[in-house]
Amino acid sequence: MQIKPILTAMRHHKAGTVLIALQIALTLAIVCNALFIIQQRTARMSRPSGVDEANLFVIRSDWTDKSDAQRIDAQMQADLIALRQLGSVQDAAPTNSFPLRGSGWDNFIKLQPDQVKMTTDAAMFFSDDHTLATLGTHLIAGRNFTASEIGAQRPRDAMHAAQVIISKDLARRLYPDGSVLGKTIYVSMGRGPATVIGITDTLQAHMISSWANAYAYNAVLVPARLLNDYTYYLVRARPGQLDAAMRDAPKALYAQSRMRIIDRKDGVMSFAQVRQRAYERDLGMAILMGIISVVLLAITAAGIVGLTSFWVGQRRKQIGVRRALGATRGDILHYFLTENLLIGFGGVLVGAVLAIGINLWMVTQFEMARLSLVYVVSGVVVLLLLGQGAVLGPALRASRVSPVEATRSV
């Protein structure tokens, strides 16, 4: 196929050529970035939490009388006994927060008491000796809390965490090349040192904001019941009995005492709901970018079909002449496909530069990651194929123009 005559012909419809190329360029720029956003968000959404999500749910119980901390503590212990006795329940534990909750206590972790800047940040999960079994999170080193180590404290009390269990990511952050087991760290605002007695497998923090990405797997389990205005109970159902347990547990709590409030709307949440809520924004963004990409590709394809059809119509006579002079139908088909490919190359060249430019700008504006070149390359391939597909219809129609057209006047 000769390219030179095509280029010469293009000069006669510069405007249309430039418009198609521009459209391809802009589409490539946006679709690349949209696909990249989708990939980033879905990657975030599929991060593991490290807990037995299928069987886990949480209950939030607000106390109607918050004044007497001792009564709250007694009530919490009675609640836990009642929950653990339920047939549908495997285990239960009290806590202030849990992975993916979105808000909660995070605390600066230090290695020395007089350190000015924190070593890292970590989520604080108030726990007891049942917490690990309830979460379904395994220890990879050290030991669990014993019942006698579990204390109780009010939120404004100083924390006396003589022993803590930490997540493996936090352990690695604190001592990149050695074991943190048995060492002391400072998790309680520079007060007492805490000895690390256990290290868990992967355990996600409650923080899900992008500022906390670096701390997303830093968690500290503190051996205490937090006597706050409310408490969460983590409950692990026996396999296959999640629904039953989610019905039984609030009833059991109300049977213990009615001096509590369990919100009808979100007082009891399965972990699937917790996860859904945590990643709502990410899912929404991924869906929106998906819709925009698909519609954009469709519109670009439609635009190419429209303009090429017009060219074919305009050039029926010339096509007829070429056919009369011996050009085969294949030659005509090839002509239009090649023409589109040339325009497409021009478009994707500009588009690739634009895509990278937009991404670099977004990196500065929205704390986004750098666009991987894989997306640009696959975007280029998709758009070139799209162009060829779109042009195929009009080109086939052009190839069917009969040589007789050459003798007709328009």
Binding site: L26, V116, D157, G284, M285
Partner: protein
Amino acid sequence: MFAYYFQLGLRSLRRHPALTALMVMAIGFGVAASMITWSVFRAVSGDPIPGKSSQLYTVLVDNRGPQYNDGGEPPEALTYTDATALVAAHKATRQTLLYYVAPSVLPEGDQSLPFIAHGYATNADFFSMFEVPFEYGGAWHASDDEGRAAVAVISHELNQQLFGGADSVGRGITMDRHTYRIVGVTAHWDPQPRFYDLFSGNGFGDPVQLYLPFSRAVDVQMDTAGRNNCGSNVDFGAGRDAWLHGECVWVPVWVELADQAAAKDYREFLTNYAAEQQRAGRFHWAPNVRLRDVNDWLDYKHVVPPESRISLLVALGFFVICLVNTIGLLLAKFMRRAAEIGVRRALGAPRREIYHQFLVEAGTVGLAGGVLGLLLTALGMLGVGLLFEPEIARLAHLDFSLVAMTLLVAIVATVLAAFYPTWRAARVQPAWQLKSN
């Protein structure tokens, strides 16, 4: 002539249905995507208190010092000590302090279950500063703040829930087992974003249900349901009292200042206050204070979710592509009629008339695209809940201004896109066209 061209436009739309449908769809999708994301963006980035946003300032004082503060910026709220001292000083026209509370409320009657209500512990100035509208009664008085009175203001919604909407002023409400006398019921009031409490991260939360005096709430040890930030090297001691008088920040403070001069004076007062704390040995660093008005504060706190900005930008890019597409298709459509134009020109039609005719025709396409866009926007509004969190999605709605804007944007954009194809059409040489035919 306009009516005639409009008719011609409609007729030509029918002549090339496929091409026209393509254009209408491109414009419709483009304008709908832009309008849906715009409505969300508009909702989250609006001025929550338009008349007064430049007179309301939030106050920050660095109580941590350069070693421990956040890159030179003071923490984002005040300690109890600073908040109460600044409010007691009365150096502004009005001043308020607040913290987020979530007491349990026990409705009257045996059958009712207690529930958690959300609100603020604040002072009397809050209501006049933020122009809270009242349905019944009014704000409590400054004397109630000083007298640590057990009074409360409840929202229209809570009044509906508890008293069926009747005038409940003078009646009691039980919160955390203490009884408060209702002095006022607000009309529906829900500024979005909730600029006065961005510290707690409630920017787009549900409407507030109740208010009670700050002094009283502290007396009954009602704990904050919002954030409590103690920084990285603050020893907050043991027990509630140590915490209350310690260096943890949890109290946003706002002042009302009539003009720039008053703001300048207040900034000076703040600096002096910090200098005094330095002299007293509490701060070991030079005064580091901030005074930000509502819009500065919204900017500083990045209230507009990045999702909203990104999706608006992507949608605008999408619209631009749709318009480029429309330019191409209009070009094809207009140039097909070169012969017709040639005849008209040869018969004496000036270029102006050609412009007129084709721009009106493009406007017709734009109108059709706008109508489709409107339908898609309405449909999209139902789907906003799938894409954004419920508290943000409920802010986006289709109102008259959005309908008008959808149509206007569609028509104006299409007419603008039609300028180049029209220019080409008007340049058709009559002689050449006639000859070649």
